[in-house]
């Protein structure tokens, strides 16, 4: 079943066209990896999926993106969209407040006030992000005192706390050391049971390790999309082959 369908998506920054006629179906409960060299549009596409591109001045889109068949650029409330489609950023960005308040920020935003409920959500989110054991004794401590890897998993927990359906990850491990990276990857594979995950990565091994589907982008166009195994073993397109074998990028 497809969770997100992108159809003939053109995206412009002013007069520059950053995405050209992208058509892509993102299946539910799988990990879809977006790969390609810098500036190919993969992050742009990711940010279109929860409308974070709205923040960029002069950004304009044509075509459609549907979440469960509902056009996200139509009547849908953008805040509600972002509740359903969570995001983890390239650089861990915990808020300058306690670990607890970081996680509780989202639920509080959506109207949950009861202490018991919040406690419950905080614990469950931290457990789901596999970081509960590391932080359970210092929930009231500032989140910025954690290591980079912990901060990133905290951000994942924070995204999970609002019970999203889709999780977008924008190069979530590029600022992390190998051990933290492994933890985040493990986590992503665990999370796909409950969530649909779209991940942008520069690391092709990462795409091979964790993703089910891979889309390869080049200069704003989607060159190839398919099963990860197939893309990396028998790519149909010459450009894909050149990229994954390291001939450019």
């Amino acid at each position: 079943m497809d969770k997100i369908t992108v159809e003939k998506l053109d995206l412009f920054y002013g007069s520059f066209q950053a995405l050209k006629e992208i058509t892509l179906n993102i299946p539910a409960n799988e990990i879809t990896a977006l790969i390609g060299p810098s500036g190919c549009g993969k992050s742009t596409l990711l940010k279109s999926l929860n409308r974070m591109n709205d923040l960029v001045e002069g950004c304009r889109i044509e075509g459609s993106i549907r979440l469960d068949r509902e056009d996200i650029y139509g009547d849908m409330d953008v805040n509600l969209l972002r509740k359903r489609v969570g995001m983890v950023f390239q650089k861990p960005n915990p808020f300058p407040m306690s670990i607890y308040d970081n996680i509780a920020f989202g639920p509080r935003t959506h109207g949950i006030r009861s202490k018991a409920k919040l406690d419950n959500i905080v614990e469950r989110s931290l457990r789901d992000a596999a970081i509960w054991d590391e932080v359970k004794d210092r929930l009231k401590k500032p989140a910025l005192g954690m290591s980079g890897g912990q901060q990133q998993r905290l951000c994942i927990a924070r995204a999970l706390a609002v019970a999203p359906e889709v999780l977008l990850m924008d190069e979530p491990t590029s600022a992390l050391d190998p051990i933290s990276t492994a933890k985040v990857e493990e986590l992503a594979m665990e999370l796909k049971k409950q969530y649909t995950i779209v991940i942008v990565t520069h690391n092709m091994q990462q795409a091979v390790r964790i993703s089910d589907k891979t889309a390869f982008f080049l200069l704003g166009e989607m060159i190839e999309f398919g099963e990860t195994e197939k893309i990396f073993s028998m790519p149909e397109n010459k450009k894909t082959e050149d990229y994954i074998t390291g001939r450019f990028g």
Partner: protein
Amino acid sequence: MINWKEKLMKVVFLAAACVSIAAVVLICIFLFVNGVPAISEIGVFRFLFGTKWKPANHLYGIWPMIVGSVYVTAGALLAGVPVGILTAVYMARFCPRWLYRIMKSSISLMAGIPSVVYGFFGLVVLVPFIRETFGGRGMSVLTASVLLGLMILPTIISVSETSIQAVPQSYYEGGLALGASHERSVFYTVLPAAKSGIFAGVVLGMGRAVGETMAVMMVAGNQAVIPRNLTAGVRTLTTNIVMEMGYSTDLHREALIGTAVVLFLFILIINLSLSMLKRKEKE
């Protein structure tokens, strides 16, 4: 040859740097040498906590002025801080660009208006307004507070706005990505992150309010008694000095310098707390 020039310039730079330090040191010496003996002659306790300031009868209690300064400064903060912070938030995060330009330049203009002009404005506009609305003579704690509240706005706004602008965009985006509205992201993620900078702006504004003289003198009434209510007149430490300096002699004159010592200590405390804040922010 080059070496010789370099050495000379080093001396020039050093001398330039020393000017401001020397000025502070000299002011300190002047204040304490002239003020402290007078304070001890009057008696520290009677000087600081005496409620009667009657130089003709050799009564030099500055308690009414200390209270006056505290009242007026607190009033200025009550009036100026909420408006200032909200303006800064608006400018940094809500305001359309064309309006931002207008606001920015009017605020720097506001900072440059001489205080006597503020005083005139207070005298002509605020004093009658307060008199008609709240009663009393119009020259009062309330009037001085409102006027000072206006005068400290540029300080609070520009410092707060800078610190709000300096908050990483990632906090704001993190808020939005969780489904928070623009307003919620600004007030609950950006603003807390700018907290210490905003506080520094408030403390700076406070320093300005404590030290302001001319405008306060024109609208405060200047009675040297502890004001009983908001519409009563008030005299601050600064106005006490400037009103009597012209004709005072001997102990009276030195008591005024003693007043300046107290004022100096006020400012010193404010500056110390500011630098402590900055250190805390760095940590």
